[in-house]
Homo-oligomer: 354 residues x 4
């Protein structure tokens, strides 16, 4: 039994994705996306996002997708507004600064990992347009957020509207784009509206390693190709990235996998509340931050559960649980049982044999 | 029948590599190389290269491997000596400059795609140590070279010796490292001797997308990790890179695959000579540059053969043929037949059904 | 009468500095600091800072001095801890990010423009050493601070001590280093203790354009030369920078000029309080932030006074006044008179004839 | 007597430039070019260059002017075509690569330090437009060239015409722009025609440290401001740069000073030929490369003459002589006398008392 809740990227590759990769391994194919499979990806994204002119570049890592997108949207002397807890600020070892040639990130606050409109406006005004300051560049939002919460479509519209008002470009870090769509019951086109570039994540959601950089503007797409190549992110055997993305888009597999992850996440959230954990914010999809009593935590770790801890002070711990697409009811329940101390032994046994 | 000789990266993934990737897709695994499979890769490389302290970082693209290696070896105000025809100069869209923060490449000449010792020494002396000039940084060699020729071990020793004399670090672009070892009949350790960093290529030689950055010095390895992360080249599902590399190292699969490619390449070279093509340089492994009469070329393209042309002027063409690990005798012979105009029809039919 | 309090860089060049520049304009001199005058600067700085091995590089702009220093102290994947209001964050258009190849600035809080020890420690701990985060690089302090306040020597020691504890390098932005020394009555050596690099400012304090980058470690100094050259900050006619710095150091002119500026600043601060302005923080030297009633402000601007406004909301304004070395009692009093509405006419007349 | 022929930047500041700087030192002036003196510079450049919309940014070092200009003209993934001996390639320690974020320089050949049209066209074609290569960016020419030769206006038109044909932007490194105009007897407008940006040099030609970046396109000028600030090249006391440039433009002082330098240079060239030196290329202005017999060279150095040597092998030396604006007939003759061994003693005495 898989009790690894450390991240959605600890999960396996979904069978349909793996099958598509196997199927792509037939004979020779022209490299660098010059085989027909990439055209199908382009069409698939345009259809799914309802963007008839969009260009899509595939890379294998979300950090690369974000950094490439931002490097195209901002000049080196500009700044990107993002939430204080965003992945681009905390978890990319300075990739946006590297790719953009030294652009700055200006951190914006807001409860529950979400930028609040007033804070954004104030931050923009504070940066201003003085020659001595970095200049206004772009707004980057993340949905699902890094705290597992969600922006509603209205909230996204408000923030991208403010960006437009100030001439900022807009980027959506969609590492969990699919989970957000599944949670809101909206289409990819709804989610993408108002954004110039979207990092459309596949890796956390059942792919092996594929992220689509979806680019609205054909001119931006042109330079994106050179930046991807120059960053060492143009695959020669691109057919294996295209195969993943094709399968991911086919019959909305991306939505199905995310829905599965969300169901597991919501079951886990409900269960955590029942066992007395305090949830840090309302989890919208497959990621939950919860404060656990230390005893419960110790039992779970002893029982073989895996999840990450962001804060261990005091008598409790702050734990992050993420359900990937493969998480089953049984696995969620086994984790809950461990935390409760009910059937710890059973769960431990199952975990050991996983 | 596969008549694609455009590159060794047009070929399929070798069965043992693909099987290893499938086998790795079992349950959960900690991300970012923190699962046991990466330890096995480390051990495998240390053994294969006879470098008991080496660190290996996996990335998926050769350009990334090269650029990361160079960024660690040189300061932004230094220069990398490389052959005028090297991949880092001609085929990476400025990746070394990007990763290194603007280091320069100083081009060195030499026949057959190989740096000659006198030219290297002269180039180093010309750069000198004046404050106004870029400073001496590193030497980067490529074996097999970009022209399909090979440095002997002695030649490598001479050049790395000159580098050492001037305090230059040394890097080996080993996109076709395996083909070079197979051609020379030497070990990986022999080939790697005298180099601070090696880009140990897998992608062109039957892997899906994996390159090992082999780093001799533990301190350099430390910063390499941050640079890889920051470049967006740290895979979360690293187990699928580790699986490729494990299988590649296992029972010297890397050597076997390269030997297969070389055998096909040598058969092709011999055949090309027989059909009257003029070879540009002595092909040591799986890549051949040959001048073809235009008629022969037209027949081959009409017959479905694929290869790249670097020069179409005059009545002939300069063609580059590369054999990947999967190329069979039959495929080579079919190409030669097309060029000769012998059995063009047969070959065309076969190609169409490939 | 000079009623320009907009900045200490609006002031003229001090006579002794100008004379030294004139005196340097005799015949030929070898360029790039290869004339004897630069040796004298080196000796002068070593004596003044009691750093027998220090290297000094001259540049003409404080932003360049700061950015060069930081680029040497941190790797591109590291972060610099600095106060939220620091010049490197707010007023350099991203120069530290540019020079360092994309290092990050991590903002630390603390009242009165000063980093507080607990906040620093917390910020360092928050960044941590995780692979996914930027890494710990350097601490940059500013004295006088950007709010015109001052760190005591004890406070500096505490903060540089914390830096050392975590392996951070230390940089002092000394755009107003002299004013801080004058205010504390301490030596340059006292102020510089615990710092790896100091931007020793001259431009705001009576020079035309010269800043010394004072570097403790000879190895760092080596690469600093290349970085300066490459940034276009190596003057060919360096003798005119050396002349400024020689005169500035001679007989502690730097301290005298700063003392004059501080006296004017303190007189102004006292006067502002008397006319009912609310000072934002305790001004230690020559820079004062004060909230003025709008009427008083209007009178002063109408009367020809110049100073900058950082906040104009409400019925008052937040004004920044800076006294350069040349400010006289009369000029300070004239400004105060304008604000009070007492002798506005007189002052206006004087200003008009300035 | 000044026998320093090492560079035109070893010379003193011209009296009218120094006087203008002194005159600018009156009372307060708003910093960063926000005082009226910068407007006058703008008008002066527009008039002199007959570019009614040109923007001019002042910096103090030619390397900075060149690097800033190129960083605006090219993307990081593009290349700049320049002569193999150009200053941006050999003498700027990688500044163009640094400022541009890693753009490449592609070296073009041609006799006498001048790019030849066929070589330029071939180099452009070789870079091509393949995705894997750096992309076509800009052409940078230097006039006077680094070998002291000159492009005629026709030659410039031909080369900028080729650039336009391929969509390359154009930059003129005008460190010795004035000497070129004086030599050709043409106007600044003539020389600047066909260039998008000009580095208009003052420092080598009698200024203390000022270079104008002349920018034709207002949009490019906008971003140039931020890049200059971010590079630490925006002077607070910009009035002292403006004063230099105003005086330099006034009554075409720039042309007069260059004419003086050229006259001295031509006298020296003639004399060198007479004493049997072999000139490397036809010197058009104030810089001469000449092969001297070793004996003559030894006499000159013993006599106190200074000039740089680029090649000391064999029985002769390759010497570079540069005459700055202040060089007199007597000084030139004294150098020639030393080389000839005629009146070595006299000259030595004079030199010693200089």
């Amino acid at each position: 039994m898989n009790l690894n809740f450390a991240s959605d990227n600890t999960g396996p590759v979904a069978p349909k994705i793996m099958e598509a990769m196997l199927a792509a391994n037939t004979g020779a194919a022209m490299p660098y996306g010059n085989d027909p499979s990439m055209d199908e990806v382009t069409q698939g994204i345009r259809r799914t996002f309802d963007m008839p002119e969009a260009t899509t570049l595939l890379v294998t890592v979300g950090t690369a997708a974000n950094a490439l997108a931002l490097a195209i949207l901002v000049q080196p002397y500009e700044t990107v507004f993002c939430h204080r807890t965003s992945h681009i600020e905390l978890d990319e070892c300075g990739a946006p600064e590297f790719y953009s040639g030294g652009a700055k990130l200006t951190l914006v606050d807001g409860p529950d990992g979400k930028i609040c409109a007033e804070a954004l406006r104030a931050a923009i005004e504070r940066v201003g347009t003085d020659l001595h300051s970095v200049q206004l560049g772009a707004l980057s939002l993340t949905n699902l957020t890094e705290l597992g919460t969600i922006y509603t479509l209205d909230e996204l519209r408000t923030l991208t509207g403010i960006a437009r008002e100030y001439g900022l470009y807009t980027h959506l870090d969609g590492a969990r784009f699919a989970n957000a769509c599944a949670a809101l019951g909206c289409s990819a086109a709804d989610m993408a509206q108002g954004f110039d570039m979207i990092s459309f994540g596949g890796t956390k959601n059942g792919c092996m390693g594929v992220e689509g950089i979806v680019i609205r503007d054909p001119e931006m797409a042109q330079q994106a190709q050179f930046r991807r190549k120059r960053a060492g992110h143009l695959w020669s055997k691109n057919r294996f990235l295209a195969a993943q993305m094709q399968a991911y888009l086919h019959d909305d597999l991306w939505l199905q996998l995310a829905a599965q992850a969300n169901v597991a996440g919501q079951r886990l959230a409900k269960g955590l509340r029942e066992v007395g954990a305090r949830l840090e914010a309302e989890p919208a999809g497959n990621m939950i931050f919860a404060r656990l009593p230390r005893q419960a935590h110790n039992r779970a770790f002893a029982g073989g559960a895996q999840y990450s801890l962001s804060d261990e002070n005091g008598d409790g711990v702050l734990a992050r649980f993420v359900c990937d697409w493969s998480k089953t009811e049984d696995e969620v329940d086994a984790l809950l049982a461990l935390l409760q101390g009910k059937s710890a032994q059973n769960a431990a046994t199952s975990a050991a044999t996983a």
